[in-house]
């Protein structure tokens, strides 16, 4: 049996603030296997985003260990973490977070160029845009010329371009209407069915219902 792709062992995250330390994660242990579709739920401020940032290698635990594919994140420097974010993790944000200076196509191509130091000549970017349902004619548009749903589709395509092991989504439908949200969830479910590990933060149970497993967080702990 392969070891879990994600393993958190007593992970704590403390934000030191002048008014006193904020314990955002308080000894979380969990493991997620390859190919799982996991929803993380919990009330506002419970530490969902903080947890996802840990899994997404945007941050390191204050204490405890986090293993991604068996490698301990705590021992990595900024360079290595950045490389992981580029190649092993696809991040989808609530606010889409496309790069405003780049067109839809270029936004998807950006991580590819960062990784391979060349333009995509394999047609991968075009295929991904088709996969998430973005018309060719839209690919030259800048993000501010596109609807929220279109932007989120592009963000999903961008997250997939370097074929990451895990797809992380922080409230991917939070800024979308119900119908568009459902369409985005269809795209994510489809990716999961094709074998990708998907971890999604949400506080809507209808959205969480798409996942196979739900982890509930309360006050920085697994409830």
């Amino acid at each position: 049996m392969s070891s879990p792709v994600i393993e958190l062992d007593d992970v704590t995250k403390v934000y030191p603030l002048p008014a006193g330390d904020v314990v955002a994660l308080n000894g979380i242990s969990l493991s997620i296997d390859e190919g799982e579709f996991v929803a993380i739920m919990g009330p506002s401020g419970s530490g969902k985003s903080t947890l996802l940032n840990q899994i997404g290698c945007l941050d390191r635990p204050t204490s405890g260990n986090f293993f991604l594919d068996g490698k301990n994140i705590r021992e990595m420097d900024d360079r290595e973490l950045t490389d992981l974010r580029l190649s092993s993790i696809g991040y989808i944000f609530q606010k889409f977070n496309l790069i405003p200076l780049l067109s839809a196509y270029e936004n998807v191509e950006y991580p590819y160029i960062m990784k391979y130091r060349k333009n995509d000549d394999t047609g991968r970017v075009r295929d991904l845009l088709a996969l998430v349902g973005i018309d060719e004619s839209l690919s030259t548009h800048k993000p501010n010329e596109l609807s929220g749903g279109q932007q989120q589709r592009i963000a999903i395509a961008r997250a997939l371009v370097n074929d990451p092991a895990i797809l992380l989504c922080d409230e991917p439908t939070g800024n979308l209407d119900t119908q568009t949200g459902a369409q985005i969830m269809e795209v994510l479910s489809d990716l999961h069915r094709k074998g990708r590990t998907v971890i999604m933060v949400t506080h809507e149970s209808e959205i969480a219902a798409y996942a196979e497993r739900t982890i509930v967080i309360r006050d920085g702990r697994v409830a």
Binding site: D78, T82, N97, N119, R158
Partner: protein, 408 residues
Amino acid sequence: MIGNDIILALSARSVRLHFLRSVLAALGIVIGVVSIASIGMMGANMTLSVTEELSDMANKLTVTSYTGGGGGMMAGPGGGGGGSDSDDDEDVITEDEFKDIQRIVAKYGTAYTVRSESDQIEVGSEEGRATIYGLDPDIIREILTVEEGEYPKSTASVVVGPTLAERLDLKIGSKIDIGDPDEGSTTTVRVVGILEERGMTMDLSTDMAIIGTDKLFTGIYGGEGEYNQVNVVVDDLDNIDTVETAIEDELNKKEDTVTVQDSSRMTESITETVSTMTTFVMAIAGISLLVAAVSIFNVMMMSVNERIREIGILRSIGTQRAEILRMFIYEAGILGLVGAVIGAVASLIIGYVVVLGMVGTTEYFFAAGSLIYVPEAMVIGAAICIVTGVYPAWRASNLDPIEALRAE
């Protein structure tokens, strides 16, 4: 399609997005580059044209009385405005000294005496000042070229320099009264010739002078057997050092009695003066680059602050710190490069006008020594931009990705 260097593309797009702001920031660099380059070129052109003019004089020496101290390059007759009176015996070359010089020079060329005095003159009702030279009539014929008219033969006739002629509207036949009427009698002379322009020289500065025979001169100012200066013309340029040393060895055997100057010292001294002046003015021009640097810094800080969220996005999807740093250095570099290129073109135009106006000739404008200031100023301008961009870029690259993502 976007090039392989997507980081550079992002920098360029950011500059283009804030076009007006970028243009204004680059304008500072343009001004800085133009001022440094055109002042540098002006100095170089001055030096080049003076050096060229003086190289005609490489075979000439001037011998003046030793005055202690350095003597100074401008102490030649006329050049210094003729401050000294001829009754100061210390400041003259005696007949004996001249004989010695003539004996030494005889083998190599010729030596002749120069008497000069600055005095008040009057033409019609117009008053002015001029240097009056007294030279041997044969020497006048040999050394000077009359453009119009003839050479002075009698003690009542003179030739005048072209600048003086123009200023006082002197023609052949014009009468000049030399001397201050309040202090005694004046001498009236007649202009018989107008000289060709001679420019900047160290032996005789005739452009603004009246040149008469030595008899005329001693008739007005006395001073028989005393000369302000002895000029030496050496036939073969290779002998110039020999002659210079020989005169110095002979006349300054016991104590320093004369100062011998060759044109190289004068060239050196003028070049030095021009370059000191140029460096000083260039340093002032450098202040404009400093101002430009502040405005670039300001624009760069603005750009970083506006794009914190974008930096967060870039970092979160796998952009290295070094690449963020590069992105902002590029941005500053683009501003610097655009400013430097426009500045270079503008400094060629403005520099040309400045050189024409200040130096009077653009003969040397395209010489390497002059044009070198354009790339030099470009490099300084662009380098200042990049250096200025380092801190904002460093700030940007050190933003925490999560914090940056939370920015609005």
